[in-house]
Subunit: 217 residues, 6 copies
Amino acid sequence: MAVVVKLSGRIFEDEELVLKYAEAIKSYGVKIAVVTGGGELARRYISAAKRGGASNTFQDLIGIYASRLNALLLISLLGDAYPKVPTNIEEFLEAWRSHRVVVAGGFQPGQSTATVAALVAEAAGASVLLNAANIDAVYSDDPRKNPKAERLPHLKYDEFERIVRSSSLPGGYELMDVWSISILRRNCITVYIFDGRRPEHIGAILRGENPGTKITC
Amino acid sequence: MAVVVKLSGRIFEDEELVLKYAEAIKSYGVKIAVVTGGGELARRYISAAKRGGASNTFQDLIGIYASRLNALLLISLLGDAYPKVPTNIEEFLEAWRSHRVVVAGGFQPGQSTATVAALVAEAAGASVLLNAANIDAVYSDDPRKNPKAERLPHLKYDEFERIVRSSSLPGGYELMDVWSISILRRNCITVYIFDGRRPEHIGAILRGENPGTKITC
Amino acid sequence: MAVVVKLSGRIFEDEELVLKYAEAIKSYGVKIAVVTGGGELARRYISAAKRGGASNTFQDLIGIYASRLNALLLISLLGDAYPKVPTNIEEFLEAWRSHRVVVAGGFQPGQSTATVAALVAEAAGASVLLNAANIDAVYSDDPRKNPKAERLPHLKYDEFERIVRSSSLPGGYELMDVWSISILRRNCITVYIFDGRRPEHIGAILRGENPGTKITC
Amino acid sequence: MAVVVKLSGRIFEDEELVLKYAEAIKSYGVKIAVVTGGGELARRYISAAKRGGASNTFQDLIGIYASRLNALLLISLLGDAYPKVPTNIEEFLEAWRSHRVVVAGGFQPGQSTATVAALVAEAAGASVLLNAANIDAVYSDDPRKNPKAERLPHLKYDEFERIVRSSSLPGGYELMDVWSISILRRNCITVYIFDGRRPEHIGAILRGENPGTKITC
Amino acid sequence: MAVVVKLSGRIFEDEELVLKYAEAIKSYGVKIAVVTGGGELARRYISAAKRGGASNTFQDLIGIYASRLNALLLISLLGDAYPKVPTNIEEFLEAWRSHRVVVAGGFQPGQSTATVAALVAEAAGASVLLNAANIDAVYSDDPRKNPKAERLPHLKYDEFERIVRSSSLPGGYELMDVWSISILRRNCITVYIFDGRRPEHIGAILRGENPGTKITC
Amino acid sequence: MAVVVKLSGRIFEDEELVLKYAEAIKSYGVKIAVVTGGGELARRYISAAKRGGASNTFQDLIGIYASRLNALLLISLLGDAYPKVPTNIEEFLEAWRSHRVVVAGGFQPGQSTATVAALVAEAAGASVLLNAANIDAVYSDDPRKNPKAERLPHLKYDEFERIVRSSSLPGGYELMDVWSISILRRNCITVYIFDGRRPEHIGAILRGENPGTKITC
């Protein structure tokens, strides 16, 4: 069983959390491809670049470099990961053939790391994508504003896409975007969205549980 | 003045047309970045791959290889183009610094060549993108079905996006997609859509004319 | 047992045939290195390039790109092939160490894909090269012109080279050239030439049969 | 005149400072090679890696990635810098031939960025290295502990090396190490050490002033 | 005027000679592409490899590495050469666009450096190839054996090819082979063969003289 | 058990010796990383470069190319070595994951091959480094000058470093330098220094003997 884990860049703000994710990944014997976001590091550097007049292209490249630094940190904590951070899908494919774990950051400007995670899932032939997100599940509305917002443990892709397009979901773009959704949907990949502060959910999901939201086609 | 020219892959079905585009590009002294689609060649190979069970990832890679073959053909017809086909935005940036003309195909799965053209325009700091398309202009409706369809020589991005989202525009995805539109819009790049069978329109546009549709922010 | 299969580019004109070759390669458990020619695709693009004044260097590079597109198509149809198209012999060697199947196109201008196949056979330590050719066997004369032309099921390298040098053999250069012959001969690699429209001959040859011509040192 | 500027990684903690250095580099028309350290970013990530049991090799690679992120940020703020971060001296040489400004981070484990700056100075044929340091000059003793410490505006390499070897100099290793000193000395490169919080000192030094310490052979 | 200079590897046995060639290349302001052979260094290493059972592939690769070491030495003696040794024709093309001098060694197994020189001449659009050879001119027969051997200052390609094919020419294969001859002939490149121990002949040839043998189409 | 073997470049002056080392490496089933020096070949080429005014950077690069030619020769004599010469630590790490034997030369200017051997030992997680040196053991003084010099079969790192820093040890820099010593010490890697003309000592050391000097932390 091959799974893809998308780690929100925010996880890398918390050293403890990164170490726990490394432990989790080491402990489960499945083939795992991890995609890391750039997080606060990326935002900080992009903000400085923007202030100084950098082009969007360079802002994107900076975000990618930040995500790769996060990826390399995770690699350094694992024993058997491919020792480099692949920079495009062909490098990923090559590494995936002979390593149990491969960790990537961004690939190219114009693609969010959520999209990269979806492309990696497609390339890896993974049937499952675990999204360690900034929210603990998908809700019908922003639970921080609307106490009546309904927690949605199961969604079909159509429903999920509708919610993502609306602006009521916190995390918005960083959770998923319509592009990544379309790639995942066309391969009928099941997505689990769970609270990124809870690495133990990876084990729970691999055992068949659903600690957050499960999206199917 | 730096311009980007997006050449629909269909142009490469017609040897005469390719030769004329080469002549046009050689004759105008401006800095030009060209992005070539995969065309019928890509479609044919992708169809064979699909039949044989190839993954979407490989189908995309095949389309990219086809677009790069088209790009190389064009390079071979120009005297002063960067002699290689850049495979990502950093290679493009590097080549663009020291060559008047750079010709690219696709970069990575998950990005249409329309998106690549938009990213290249952004990276090149181009103010204008010329789209040698499969239609001669943008219409309010499909002119082949509705004789009353109105030819639209000038559009704002909002209007253009609305039309693209609707299914009434022939060419649809291959013309532009919402992703490329958003990249172009955020850099306020002017887009000219014209009949790809008329290479002479490049000169017309450079002279300030508008033979098809002009889209501005 | 490691074998090399040289696929004439013409095979890629026929979708059915490509799919059958993929099946054949998947079914035999031996280590296989495949080298694909550029075929009609290459000829068409080279012709356009030549018309437009492209240098011989670029014409050769175009032929190489075409052969690599064919190679990638084949890779996409196999499950366990090295996922990239090696571009030189060192990349081939690296891939060959850890993959059952590796598919290459051309390497460098100045080398026919027949020569590349010979170099790959040498590098792979293969004892056998299967040439899926445009003719079904080697004849003493062009059988299409001379009905008395003798079919030659067994040849020594000397005899084969004499026939290749003479102009009576259809296919001529695309079959083999003196350079590839000398590389094969110095490693004493056995060559089987068979009808490229008959993928089932691969299995026959692996079972010890000789459906066309067998060349030994 | 070609100069090398070594920017302590700490500069990248201060967005204002980075923007000012970008302005300074843009304003002086000389050929400039910049080498950026990893700073606090590197230390933070290396510390996390170390906690999790990462090898020294990976700790070094993480430091290098951090320094390259800093380098890329600086590149994004300049208009005419080589658009990539060279990863070794040959890439640097290639970029240096055709760009006024090149910005590098670390190259390989086992080399401090101070050493990289020295190697780059040697490769670039620079006669001057400007070290934007964590101290404002070299002192005979640690001025923070010994109020009688003497500020040393001029030093010969011998004297400087003696001071670096002793532990009384704050900044120690990050300022310079004996390896970088030997490389600089053998090429008789003049080093200016100045307060890294004062980008305007670059201009002063280029005008012939000495705001901190000047080291000559 | 662009010229290609082929330097026999034997030149690199003589330090004085290498230094003189560097001076010659520096002094003439024309665009020069140099291709260096592996010489005695290659022969010694290949012999050791062969003794130890190395494959032909590796023997060829060793010869290529040796030729590249020679190339790098020459680069180090020139001020404005492309700072790297291109490893294939595309790298050569890229370097040739922006450097007055480019120095290459071998490219791939299966190609003599004479062939590489011919391919480089074709790619560079050079009209002239200067072959600093192991003989001082072409003779009708081996002058060391037949005192009546006629020195041939002018030859057409047909005549030259006939002589090369016969075994009477000393140097034989290392001078030129039929493959390089065919590439040179199809581009109508003029070849000058002269005594490799006389670097001053380069200047003579550039001035219109013919110190050895001149071959034209 | 993973070991690193550092082969002095002088070994490559003696064809017999190289063949014996190849045999030794093939016969022991352990994972071995080999680092080869440039030897006399490097010295000869560097001397020529220096005479002609080459920069230190190019002198170092020439030394690296020479060491890589030696590495390739050794690779060609082994059956299962990674088929390429890694050029930096990341390439080494990648190769080391899937090959029993990897052979490298130098990586970057500014690092002796002794330092590269130490970095490779650190990256490979090796506990032992075997240094096939130009001396048969470490002595308290130069045994060629002082007949009373004491042979030292066992040393701690402190003692060894003291001896290396003093000028009394023949071989000096080429044996080890303080930089490599510090890398080895921080990983507590045991070093065996033995007579490089005696390949059979590798087997002896693997069997637990100490034919020369053993250095521990």
